[in-house]
């Protein structure tokens, strides 16, 4: 029994011996016990099969061609014969080069090394050598010392480049995201300067919700981020508690950690969303990290919850301004607008913030203009929009306040004065901003020409004229002109008790006014030949 086990081990330890006889080697013989098409070296093929072949897919089987003299098996089809037959020749191929290998005394030179078969004895050693993500080509020089690698890593964590995973003490800053299916995978690292927002589903159970790591705040702020020579702790920026019906309340004291626990059949303080904000310097070093949490409650029936994660990077001492294109506007991004603060000559900065965005009225389900105050939608470049509401006019309404209210409804609280002509226009460049031209059109009814009658605005039309700018192959969109037209109509005095419904509309239209591009070509070279003046000498 001992001998057989040794023999078995000896058999297992070595891989089967490689075939080196060129006459028996056939690479195209893939089907077992069947003839492969066009495979002239296949032993399963008969003479009738050979007569059907058109060509030999493998004409020569040869060993290492650098040897001075070696055997080669040559297969060819004799198409002249009827039926075609296969010719097999075993020849001595001679390499005429003077640097051909005459002999070797190093056995592994011409053959691939047989890999070590893992057994119980050498498994640990093989796992150490080859179990990692990388291993060096020369196993003799492989360095088993992990301390030697640390000094080089310390330099690299100080400076991050775009896309490099943000490293923390134990691994990477995790941003759980759906992989393949919608279930959360915790192995997704956050890349530096890559703003991401992900949503995924996690399976939960209320009974052991305090043992599920991914539901507790600690899981997300536990390890500190490695940056230059020190570590940056992740601070809790704010905590919002979401109730069962979706209302969120900000907690005033954001320092206390709230861990999930079971209460009245609900699991409270479960993490429903995390929003990381990382502040970095302009050289790529992370200096601050904060996380804003949304905590919620999980009911007993829920088998899974949806978690949302977001990460955003901000450079220190800057206000992030989202660009709408670089440089031309990108379709779908909001049109940037702003005000010019009073002052002459032009002061340096425009105030371009969210309040000064170009917005239009957003239609609501109630369609009542007076009730839907404040619902506005941003104007997105390239998207023509129309929206409106219905105004119920009763006899008791006074004209002037109504006109002012409608103007507010149409234009919004702070209608901007300037629109950026490029998607990345800076506030300092005054010439990159286009003023909004405001027009007033009043629809005068022909029969009523009284000037003192009341005019109320009923529609606002914003026309944005843009052109293609730049090269022919990569045109950039540039806004050239913005015109806001307010159309007013006269309001007839209603008899008491009656009411009228007037539709109020606002629209945005984008018009492409780019002139057709004319590609220009280089002038053809002209051939400048002049005959010498005495060319026709004897005759002229």
């Amino acid at each position: 029994p001992a001998d057989t086990s040794d023999a078995a081990q000896a058999r297992v330890r070595s891989a089967p011996a490689p075939v080196t006889d060129v006459a028996r080697l056939c690479v195209c013989d893939l089907l077992v016990a069947q003839c492969d098409t066009n495979c002239c070296c296949d032993p399963d093929c008969s003479a009738e099969d050979f007569s059907l072949f058109t060509t030999c897919s493998i004409p020569v089987v040869i060993g290492d061609s650098q040897l001075c003299s070696q055997k080669a098996a040559v297969y060819s089809l004799d198409v002249e014969a009827n039926p075609p037959e296969r010719i097999f020749k075993l020849i001595d191929q001679v390499n005429p080069s003077i640097f051909c290998i005459h002999a070797t005394n190093y056995e592994q030179a011409l053959y691939l090394k047989s890999p070590e078969i893992p057994t119980a004895e050498n498994f640990d050693e093989l796992l150490d050598k080859f179990g990692g993500a990388t291993f060096s080509a020369e196993p003799d020089s492989w360095n088993l010392d992990p301390d030697a690698q640390n000094p080089s890593e310390a330099n690299e964590t100080s400076r991050y480049e775009y896309g490099v995973p943000v490293q923390t003490e134990d691994a990477f800053l995790r941003l759980p995201s759906p992989v393949v299916s919608s279930w959360c995978s915790d192995a997704n690292p956050a890349g530096f300067l890559v703003n991401q927002a992900t949503k995924c589903i996690r399976s939960v159970s209320v009974e052991n919700c305090d043992s599920i790591q991914a539901l507790s705040m600690l899981f997300y702020i536990n390890s500190s981020i490695l940056a230059s020579v020190f570590q940056v702790n992740i601070t809790v920026q704010s905590i919002a508690v979401q109730s069962v019906n979706g209302m969120r309340t900000f907690l005033s004291s954001a320092e206390a950690l709230r861990l999930p626990m079971v209460l009245d059949g609900l699991c409270i303080n479960a993490v429903l969303g995390v929003n990381y904000h990382i502040t970095h310097t302009d050289t790529g070093e992370i200096i601050e990290a904060a996380a804003a949490f949304v905590l919620g409650a999980i009911s007993r029936e829920a088998l899974s919850i949806e978690q949302s994660f977001e990460i955003s990077f901000t450079q220190e001492n800057t206000q992030p301004v989202p660009l709408s294109g670089n440089p031309g506007y990108v379709v779908g991004l909001p049109v940037r607008a702003g005000f010019q603060p009073q002052g002459y000559p032009f002061p340096a900065a425009f105030l371009s913030n969210k309040h000064g965005q170009l917005t239009i009225l957003h239609s609501t389900s109630t369609q009542d203009c007076l009730a839907a105050q404040g619902a506005r939608a941003p104007v997105l470049f390239g998207y023509n929009m129309i929206s409106g509401c219905k105004l119920r006019i009763t006899a008791a309404m006074k004209c002037q306040p109504l006109a002012q209210t409608l103007l507010d409804v149409l234009k919004g609280q702070s209608f901007p004065e300037y629109v950026a002509s490029f998607g990345n226009s800076q506030a300092q460049d005054v010439l990159d901003w286009v003023p909004i031209t405001q027009l007033h059109i009043s629809e005068q009814m022909i029969s009523h020409t009284l000037q003192s009658s009341c005019q109320i605005p009923v529609s606002l039309g914003i026309e944005v004229k843009w052109t293609k700018y730049g090269s022919l192959v990569n045109p950039q969109a540039r806004i050239v002109n913005v015109t806001a037209t307010i159309t007013s109509t006269t309001l007839k005095q209603l008899p008491s008790g009656r009411e009228r419904i007037i539709p109020i509309t606002s629209s945005v239209v984008f018009t492409d006014i780019s002139s057709p591009a004319e590609p220009s070509y280089k002038a053809w070279p002209t051939i400048n030949i002049k005959l010498p003046f005495d060319f026709f000498y004897p005759f002229v």
């Binding site: 001075c68 080069s97 003077i98 640097f99 051909c100 290998i101 005459h102 002999a103 070797t104 005394n105 190093y106 592994q108 030179a109």
Partner: protein
Amino acid sequence: NNSSQLSSLPLHILLYVNGVYYIFYFLATLAMIIYKSQVFSYPDDFLAPDLAVLFLMAILEVPRLYLGFKGNLTEAEAPLGLSLGLTVGSVLLCVYLLLWQSYVLWADVLLNAVLLAAYGLESGLKVTAIAAFVS
């Protein structure tokens, strides 16, 4: 004057040609070892002995040729005999490079064969010269 001169002219010529040829041989073999280490798989365990043999042969060649010249010109047997002994060592090293190198290229075979032939002829002439000097 010919009868009284025992120094062998063919030996002198051969030693001179051997010196020139050896410089070419050394550079060519070194270049080929470098070529082999780049093109083929040549681990350090196998590269080191081959290089050591080549350099040892170069180190032996210098005193061997010097003693050969000196012995032949001064018509003394002792330096010539010592040179013969060093030649035996050189022949062994040359045979190693011909047969037992890790990779023996066809060019290696040619160079070493020519060198062996030169050594053989030289040894014959040295033996003849020693016999002439002794008697």
